[in-house]
Amino acid sequence: MSGMRLLDRHVALFSGSLRTLLQRESDRRRCAGSPYAWLFQPYMGEELVALACHASDDAQPVISVAAVVLDQHHVQTSRAWVATIANTQSANATTLRRHHCLYGTSVALAPSAENLGTLAEFIGNRPLIGWQLDRSLDRLNALFKKGLGFGLPNAQVDVAKLHQRQLRRLHPQVDIDSRIGDALDRWQLPTLSGHSVLGESTASALLYLRLQREAE
């Protein structure tokens, strides 16, 4: 691995505001003895995880999440982690059903430490990418803090920002739309049909691969 890319990775690890940085550091120290300590190690592999979530603002939060592992060539859609995280007993049944239909999830998991742990382990310490990632991570991290006591510490790449940067470089005058569909059109990728979370995470993964190649 070239020195440049190594540096990139560590810079990415320290990105974000000072507050999140300090938060992450204190989380790391607190979890040093827990089974999740390895999540705070810097990642040295080639893979990333594309994340997409949709949340509903009810009394009981209902969040549909999809995470897909990708490397330089492949998007491993066949081994994706897709679920709706909600308290199955107390959450609004209609909202839950709507999530299943609209976002294409088939399982509902209670936001217990165990279930959140499987997601955290699926993601591991791999960097996260996603379309407007911070927005979706906000909701997810709230759950994580409640269930596991820490927010996801992974390095993050917001594909929407990447897209804006590339586009501005190519066409300085262009008005940039913030919808993922437009970005997919712009880079001639297959369009998204429906709103499934798996679809959106795959789309952001493809967009990331495409933009990476554009940057080279």
Partner: protein, 605 residues
């Protein structure tokens, strides 16, 4: 995003559960332009289904110009055969950025196990490809299997047996009469062979005269084979004994002779055999037998990949010879100089490869005396039907008195048709314009053609009416320039061949070009400056492609013995390369139509 398009083959062979497995089991992969997806010899780990982009299949052992052996676009599937074979035989390389669904090997094999039809789809295309490859390798014409399995009896000639005491002069005469190269003599129960070379040596170097008996020059050490031996054994014997002919004997009985030219022609395309058979035919039966063999010749030529233009020329020459032979059998020799038989339509243009209906007519000299012409022409038409030329549904045949006339009658007809200018007259003019003399006195046709040019080539109004027919059928392209894909196929004759042929015919009429074949007319138009060379070449290639596709279709129908000929090509059944070619060719036709409507002012008609 993972909504894989599973509504086409081979996934339609799965049930809903199987398709669900596929949907859950596929990954996505992204390949850059020129990136190698699967290398030659690499183990097949997954099946690729292209979602977007193009992939080329390259045989790296071939030179770069012919290395590209396959082309895959969105919706196509590759890599399955690499899994079944264990490793990839060719290199798959992305030609554009590609997005592929990849199905892991384990899933693919599991599907194959559960759904035998799904598996047989790939097995079938594997054998299909293997067959294509062997056919490509066996570029010796008849496929390798045909070559190895042909028996001597399939290729031998009738022996030409002469009395041993006959003199050299009569032997030479006999050889010439029967278009043979050698003859056999029988002395005291032994056969001897006399070849043309033997005769020549005997007469020039030896001390023979015309009256010497042939047995003096004959050879008695003959190389023999039996009719059941393989033909290549005969070839081996010829090579070993340095002779050009072997004698076929069966239990001491003379059966025939196999000549080197026959063997070689058999292995190449049989063209020589068929044309020889036509020349040698001295009865209608023999001629009919020779005529029956032309489809076989066409198949052999196509298998060899002979350029269609040359195949058409060869076939036109053969058909011309057959018809003129038929003519000489039925028509008395005294009438040959004051009449001219012409073939018209596709036959006249020399573009008839398989025998379609006969279009022919007769021109008589103004001063000819031929009272029973009607009966004789009736007989001629019947003869041609026996030879395998079906009658013309439009009754454009010599048996129809309308298509028999003296030169001045024909000229009067032309004047009448030109002034009438209705659909029927225009069609008759078009038919006459393609006329080509096959028998009799061609000067008669020339004078009629001269009149036709005189009347038509400066008549802008007529030309405009004449050209309009070329636009009658629409080009099967969609609004976006891709091929229309109706279920029953596109009519390639109406959509492709007819506009080119008729448009070129109109231009040839305008420029007084005497050639009748469309390709020759295109050459002449380019030389004349009426069309630019590149466009003329493109049109010629497009026409050749259409004709070839149609011919393939017709040959298939010949095999399946469906007596109804169609001109329909089902686009979905073509390979993607052929599809591309067809689309390009259709665009050329469209362009040509625009030029025609510009030149002949057809915009508002």
């Amino acid at each position: 995003m993972v909504e894989v398009e599973l509504s086409q083959l081979p996934f339609t062979l799965l049930d809903e559960e199987g398709r669900d497995h596929v949907r859950r089991g596929v990954d996505l992969a992204y390949f850059d332009r020129d990136e190698i997806i699967l290398e030659t010899g690499q183990a097949g780990e997954c099946v690729f289904l292209i979602h977007k982009g193009e992939v080329a299949e390259l045989d790296t052992t071939l030179p770069a110009s012919s290395a590209r052996i396959g082309h895959y676009t969105a919706g196509d599937l590759f890599g399955a055969i690499s899994i079944l074979n264990g490793k990839s035989r060719y290199r798959f390389q992305a030609e554009q950025e590609c997005l592929c669904y990849i199905m892991p090997k384990a899933l693919f094999i599991q599907l194959c196990r559960h759904y035998p039809e799904f598996e047989s789809f790939f097995k079938q295309s594997l054998s299909h490809k293997t067959r294509l490859l062997t056919e490509k390798r066996a570029e010796g014409g008849v496929t390798m299997a045909g070559f190895m399995l042909a028996k001597v009896s399939e290729c031998m000639r009738e022996p030409l047996l002469m009395d041993a005491s006959a003199d050299i002069a009569s032997a030479v005469k006999q050889l010439n009469d029967s278009h043979a190269d050698s003859l056999l003599v029988n002395t005291q129960g032994k056969y001897g062979m006399v070849t043309k070379t033997d005769l020549l040596n005997g007469l020039v170097l030896g001390d023979c005269s015309n009256a010497t008996p042939v047995e003096a020059v004959a050879h008695y050490s003959l190389v023999t084979v039996t009719p059941n031996q393989y033909l290549f054994e005969a070839l081996v014997l010829m090579t070993r004994h340095k002779v050009a002919r072997v004698v076929v004997m069966e239990q001491e009985l003379l059966k025939g002779v196999v000549e080197l030219t026959d063997v070689l022609s058999y292995f190449s395309s049989r063209s020589y055999v068929v044309s020889l058979q036509v020349e040698q035919a001295n009865s209608l039966e023999a001629l009919a037998a020779a005529s029956q063999r032309t489809p076989e010749l066409v198949k052999a030529l196509m298998a060899q990949g002979v350029k269609l233009r040359f195949a058409m020329d060869l076939l036109a020459a053969l058909n011309g010879r057959i018809i003129s032979k038929a003519w000489s059998f039925t028509v008395d020799e005294t009438h040959h100089s004051d009449s001219c038989m012409m073939v018209m339509g596709s036959e006249g243009r020399g573009e008839q490869i398989l025998k379609t209906d006969q279009d022919n007519g007769l021109i008589l000299a103004d001063d000819s005396q031929w009272p029973d012409v009607a009966e004789q022409m009736q007989a001629l038409t019947q003869t041609l039907i026996r030879l395998g030329y079906p009658p013309c549904p439009g009754n454009i045949m010599v048996s129809n008195p309308e298509w028999v006339g003296s030169v001045s009658q024909w000229k009067r007809n032309i004047v009448k048709w030109v002034s009438a200018r209705d659909g029927d007259s225009l069609m008759k003019l078009a038919i006459l314009l393609d006329a080509h003399a096959v028998a009799g006195n061609p000067a008669l046709l020339e004078s009629v053609r001269e009149e036709l040019f005189e009347r038509c080539s400066r008549d802008e109004l007529l030309l405009s009416y004449f050209a309009r027919t070329a636009l009658r059928f629409s080009t099967p392209l969609t609004l976006f320039g891709s091929l229309k894909k109706p279920q029953h196929g596109i009519d390639i004759k109406k959509g492709g061949i007819f506009p080119i042929v008729h448009g070129v015919r109109t231009m040839a009429l305008e420029r007084r070009i005497k050639a009748t074949s469309t390709l020759d007319r295109l050459d002449a138009l380019a030389a004349d400056g009426r069309l630019d060379r590149r466009f003329a070449d493109d049109l010629g290639e497009a026409l050749a492609l259409f004709t070839e596709l149609r011919l393939k279709q017709q040959l298939q129908e010949l095999d399946t013995a469906i007596d109804k000929r169609t001109n329909r090509v089902v686009v979905q059944e073509l390979s993607s390369l052929e599809r591309d070619l067809l689309r390009e060719a259709m665009h050329i036709v469209k362009d040509f139509k625009q030029r025609l409507s510009h030149r002949y002012h057809l915009e508002y008609s």
